[in-house]
């Protein structure tokens, strides 16, 4: 059995592999989403923002178109009656019509009809203060004539100063109109002045995002309407036209005052004007910004949650394995009685069950081995025990025959009886353990026999504590010791009588047998090896007894010998009390 601390194994930890694998999977998934979803959504958001702005700009253009068309309708409506019939007589009627139209609409300031030479036929503006030749020089007049009524001229905003009693800030519409005079058809010019404020209010009220706006410019890239036109005119603000000049119509981008802008340029019908929608990229793409931020938050959370999940997962999966590992380490330290609770994953369970089964197998094998060892020991014991008897039997039988031959039947009978008793106790019906009383009886019978043989050689006495008598002991312990005394302790040279004292006493836990003699003792050199080497017939006895005692009771019990040369020997046997057959 391996003892000591379990070794640190090399290789990858399952826990870490699961942790890293899970994190790697989540990481790959998140990155995949990041790189596929994010650019696409970003692009869509941008397209959407630009598209919505474009829609607003086109809507504004539509609104302006509607307004322009309504102005043109008014001009057309007003044109009709002007052209027919005999001019002069109906002029007052026509002027009345013009006045009605002008008064019915707040945004029409003046309606006037000019002859081809620049003189005023009739108009709602009152008296003219400008000479016809001056009027002929005016751009609106020239355009109206040259286009022959096929298009309407729209002027830039200006203060109208043609009339004596009126100054107004207007945009002038003019178209050529053919009229009949004295049977002649000539081209005149119809003028309509429209309030600038109506147009500017309409346009300046439009916003794109929180700071975006629209403005109007003409075909020469001059600003007509702009939310900050007054400031621009004063030199206190500016509008960069370069990008619009470059692009002409469509969608383009530029940068002003450190902000990126998206410009959408559309044409306004009939006027030769363009409407430019200015949207600020940072506002337009605020949604994109918010999206990025939300994404950052969400991805961070996802990252943290997957870390948590990975940790839990790794822990949960490997816990039964770790449990298994710990238990196995315990087994490594020598504890074979470990059982693993079968819980957790199926695979772990089956491994645990197998492990338990295996341990059970080991334990039963171990038990078997122990049992076999026991049996072997018993056999050994028996064999050892069997070693003791033959020589004594032969010698005793010889003595019996000798005595019988000399006619000392009584002594022979005593010896036979003693031998019989001796053997009966020796066998003890196959029991290993006998009572101390029986053991002493055994020795007594032995001594009887030996006394007869070695008459004057020794004396003996047996002392015992009464409590010891009913204790059990392994049989045939004392007799070999006594035999040993008789065989070795007698001083042949001096012929002194050996005195053997046999004593049995008890302690709390032990039985102590002592065999003491006053014989020749054992030399110091021989003493240590007495119990280990078997020297001759008599040497077997002590080693045998010691071995038997130790095999039965354990290594802490057995024989101990004290001896002084020429003085005596004491052999002490210690065995535990309370040991019985079943053990």
């Amino acid at each position: 059995m391996n003892q000591g601390t379990p070794m640190r194994k090399r290789g990858y930890s399952l826990h870490n592999v699961i942790l890293i694998a899970f994190l790697a999977c989540m990481g790959i998934l998140l990155l995949f989403v990041l790189f596929t979803l994010v650019p696409r959504v970003n692009q869509l958001l941008e397209q959407n923002a630009v598209e919505r702005t474009r829609e607003t700009v086109l809507q504004s253009t539509s609104t302006l178109d509607v307004y322009v068309n309504s102005m043109i309708s008014v001009m057309n409506f007003v044109s009709q009656p002007l052209t027919r019939g005999d001019a002069a007589s109906e002029d007052t009627l026509r002027l009345e019509r013009l006045n009605l139209m002008q008064q019915s609409r707040t945004d029409i300031v003046t309606l006037a009809f000019f002859n081809g030479d620049g003189s005023l036929r009739y108009g709602t503006g009152g008296k003219l203060r400008t000479e016809p030749e001056e009027i002929r020089k005016r751009q609106w007049f020239q355009n109206a004539l040259s286009w022959q009524g096929t298009s309407i001229s729209f002027s830039r905003p200006h203060v109208q100063e043609l009339f004596s009693d009126q100054r107004s800030y207007v945009i002038t519409l003019a178209r050529g109109l053919e009229y009949e005079e004295n049977g002649e058809r000539t081209l005149g010019v119809l003028l309509m002045d429209v309030n600038y404020s109506t147009l500017s209010d309409m346009m300046n009220g439009i916003s794109l995002g929180s700071s975006g706006y629209v403005y109007l410019l003409d075909e020469q890239d001059r600003l007509l309407v702009h939310p900050r036109l007054d400031l621009i005119n004063q030199g206190l603000a500016e509008e960069s036209i370069a990008a619009v000049h470059e692009k002409i119509v469509g969608v383009t981008r530029d940068r002003q005052n450190g902000r990126d802008r998206i410009l959408m340029i559309s044409t306004v019908g009939q006027t030769r004007w363009r409407l430019v929608g200015v949207a600020y990229a940072d506002e337009l793409l605020a949604l994109q910004d918010a999206f990025i931020r939300i994404l950052t938050v969400v991805f961070s959370c996802a990252g943290l949650l997957s870390l948590a999940a990975a940790t839990l997962m790794a822990f949960w999966v490997t816990r039964p394995i770790t449990h298994l590992e710990h238990k196995m380490q315990k087994v490594q330290t020598g504890d074979l009685n470990v059982t693993i609770t079968e819980k957790g994953f199926r695979e772990i369970r089956s491994v645990s069950a197998a492990f338990n089964h295996m341990l059970a197998q080991i334990r039963s094998l171990m038990d078997k081995v122990v049992e076999e060892q026991e049996t072997k020991r018993l056999h050994e014991l028996n064999a050892l025990q069997a070693q003791i008897n033959p020589h004594f039997l032969y010698n005793t039988l010889d003595s019996i025959v000798w005595m019988e031959e000399r006619g000392r039947s009584r002594e022979a009978i005593t010896m036979v009886l003693a031998l019989a008793k001796l053997f009966r106790i020796s066998i003890s019906k196959g029991r290993r353990f006998i009572t101390v009383e029986e053991e002493l009886e055994h020795v007594r019978n032995y001594l009887i026999i030996q006394k007869m043989r070695f008459k004057e050689k020794f004396t003996y006495e047996i002392t015992r504590q009464p409590e010891a008598l009913c204790e059990h002991t392994v049989k045939l312990i004392i007799q070999p010791l006594v035999e040993n005394c008789i065989n070795h302790a007698i001083d042949e040279a001096s012929g002194e009588e050996l005195h053997i004292v046999i004593d049995v006493s008890v302690t709390e836990a032990e039985l102590i047998f002592t065999v003491t003699d006053d014989g020749i003792g054992i030399s110091e050199e021989r003493l240590p090896s007495i119990l280990t080497t078997s020297v001759g017939e008599s040497g077997i006895g002590l080693k045998n007894v010691n071995e038997r005692i130790q095999l039965t009771y354990g290594p802490q019990y057995g024989l101990s010998i004290q001896s002084v040369e020429d003085e005596g020997t004491t052999i002490t046997v210690r065995i535990p009390r309370g040991w019985e057959e079943s053990k």
Binding site: R156, H158, V159, Y196, L236, S300, C301, L304, A308
Partner: protein, 286 residues
């Protein structure tokens, strides 16, 4: 055994906190409270104050602040303002009062020591007048009438002098009812009283040459059209108002500001009807 659970719990808690705080971060900005700025005026009528208010309102809209207008008598109510603009004949008392209240002040139309001011660019006006006079090739005898009746006239005088000195221009100091040199065919005036005087002389034919001058008041466009004056240097109260509010705003934010000068237009019959100039020549129209 517990360590993984603790780590997981910590991560989840952090994620929850991040989620909560993060959505706040990507949300909207809390609205700021609106500051009010005051304009104290000497008179509520006239095109000058009309354009002044329009310019200030434009600036107020751009800056996202409110504008309150007070006449001189209401001035006491001007408390709790973030800043004030004064257009008064004698602004020093009110300016000091506001300064003691810790309200930053911007003065319009004149300079006041210790305060930031917004004025028409009188130097540019003087220079433009002088240059225009010199550009009239057929006018051989040009007279420049200097005047220091007020701050603006004095500045114009200096600027016009600087231009006219080297040329063959007669320079006289203006006095009411003064006589003009016989052959004078163009007179340049730099003060309103001088301009009006010259216009009157043109009307009653005592003077027949060209007159260049400064703003004649609400009749400015008529005077130009009539022909009694040929070029007129006009301030832009719209620009002045706009700059004044920005100046007060700057002061309120702790910026150091210097006097601002608004562009001056030299209006003539040729350019008076253009949309670029409508706010100065026809202030009541737009």
């Amino acid at each position: 055994m517990k360590k993984p659970i603790m780590i997981s719990a910590f991560c989840i808690a952090l994620a929850a906190a991040l989620l909560f705080w993060g959505f706040r971060w990507s949300g909207s900005i809390p609205p700021q409270e609106e500051k009010t700025y005051g304009l104290t005026i000497q008179s509520d009528t006239g095109s000058y104050v009309m354009q002044l208010r329009k310019g200030m309102q434009q600036a107020a809209d751009e800056l996202g602040v409110r504008l309150e207008v007070y006449t001189q008598s209401e001035a006491r109510q001007a408390d709790g303002l973030a800043g004030a603009v004064l257009w008064l004949e004698q602004p020093s008392a009110e300016a000091e009062r506001l300064k003691s209240l810790g309200i930053p002040v911007s003065i319009v139309g004149q300079t006041l020591p210790g305060f930031a001011c917004v004025l028409g660019d009188a130097e540019s006006a003087g220079k433009q007048l002088a240059l225009y006079a010199l550009s009239q090739a057929d006018k051989a005898h040009i007279v420049l009438l200097t005047d220091d009746v007020d701050e603006g006239a004095a500045a114009r005088s200096r600027a016009a002098l600087a231009v006219a000195k080297a040329e063959n221009v007669a320079i006289l100091g203006y006095l009411p009812d003064m006589g003009l040199p016989e052959n004078c065919d163009l007179v340049v005036t730099v003060s309103q009283r001088a301009t009006l005087d010259m216009i009157q002389r043109k009307r009653n034919q005592t003077f027949k040459g060209m007159v260049l001058g400064v703003d004649t008041g609400e009749s400015r466009s008529y005077d130009l059209e009539e022909g009694v004056i040929d070029a007129m240097a006009l301030d832009s109260p719209y620009a002045i108002g706009y700059l004044a509010l920005y100046q007060a705003y700057g002061l309120a934010n702790g910026d150091s500001v210097s006097n601002d000068y608004a562009k001056v237009l030299l209006a003539t019959r040729e350019n008076m009807y253009l949309s670029e100039n409508v706010k100065q020549v026809f202030p009541l129209l737009h």
